[in-house]
Amino acid sequence: MTEADVRLAPDEPVYYYQDDRDAKCPYAPPPGLRALNDEAPISRGRIWDGSTPWLVTGHAAQRAILSDPRVSSDDKQAGFPYPNQAMAENAPHHPLTIFNADGADHTRIRRMMTRPFTRPRMEALRPEIQRFTDELIDKMLAGPKPVNLTTALSLPLPSLMICALLGVPYEDHEFFQKHARVATTSEKTAEDDRAAGEALGGYLANLLQVKMETPADDVLSDFAARIKAGDLTLPEATLLSMILLIAGHETSATMITLGTGLLLDNPEQLRLLRETDDPKIVANAVDEILRYLTVATFGQRRIAREDFAFEGADIKAGDGIIVPLPAGNWDPVAFPDPERLDLTRKATHHHAFGWGIHQCLGQQLARIELQVVYGTLYRRIPTLRLAVDRDELKFRPADALAFGVSELPVTW
């Protein structure tokens, strides 16, 4: 039992964080999580290890806490609210990365990784993303139906793009998709987690050594040049590469699959995408779908450095803090009628990519991938529909690091 638990009144009801979504409404955040925010922007929740970190559910409160220098991302401090046991066990071995560094350390590491992901560079890649998307749809149309959208389009597109950016041969995609998946599930042992990390790490370290000899125009060659210049060690570069490779896979794929499920459930909204070729309308729609689904269900996690009062709560040094992003994205103050999917809504202030200095590095790549897919798929296949009843879809449990379904059988 942690000190934080002692301060709870014995009969005080505590929300069990990451209860499942409502089966009738699987695209919405868990109703219990939303209800918390009707009471207060901050409350306590119980997590898998029995501890009771703070849950910051309000949109404005999320921004405030994620910009507050009194909270830290350092996952080695006792009381840090880990997403699952495997991650808790491995945390003491975690090196400093963009995820767990604060302040100047974070800036130093982040700046080494940002170059390939700027908005102008991503914009320049749009034609290539369009070409990959069209080719995958051609292949889908030429093959048998029904087809699983995840394997036909959702996973191959981000996978092709991140491989091209990093300079990783796409032929090896089955190998790293398998290991990347371990990183985003909760049903794993600390050993599985380490083994997957070692397999991927070994592979990438090898590739970095190749790029030191024969550089190309890609991110791994960039890192290789920094190793040669003495700015990075091989293990550090391996880790940065691994983060980019893993992060580039599951989340965009999940957004393509779930976004399609959601749109097929909202035919009048889908019509808007099918009938427009205005890139601004498509871009706006993408941000609304990001808001609505918020696939990073685990939320951003922090620990308090000192005692401070926040929104009526007394936060103590060492208290864990979870910022459940889906709750902020369904806060009616920031998004009136949050349960209404409205592709014309101004939603760019959503937290689907997090908030603060740790906000997703790959967000501009994700946005453009989604703009191209949502802007192309339903126009090219106007009769696209689910090939099974929606009740048959198997959604991942709420404690998975990214929400999703592994199969979305579609036909046309």
Binding site: R110, R111, R115, F117, T118, R119, P120, I357, Q364, R367
Partner: protein, 64 residues
């Protein structure tokens, strides 16, 4: 309207460029924000205010 950016805070999220491409750019080497016009014309004022609002690092300040 006068725009001030804090390069030290910027984490290269690119949100400002998405919101107001005529006023913000990103440095090619590391993605740090580049201010193209520190006195944007009134017709861009809404976009610029939005850029400041969506910057996750609070690196953009506007003096009206």
């Amino acid at each position: 309207m006068k725009v001030v950016v804090d390069e030290d805070k910027c984490v290269a999220a690119g949100q400002c460029v998405s919101a107001a491409m005529d006023v913000f750019d990103q440095r090619d080497e590391d993605g740090i924000v580049v201010l193209l016009n520190e006195n944007p014309p009134p017709e861009l004022a809404d976009d610029v205010r939005n850029a400041a609002a969506v910057c996750p690092a609070l690196a953009i300040r506007i003096e009206e």
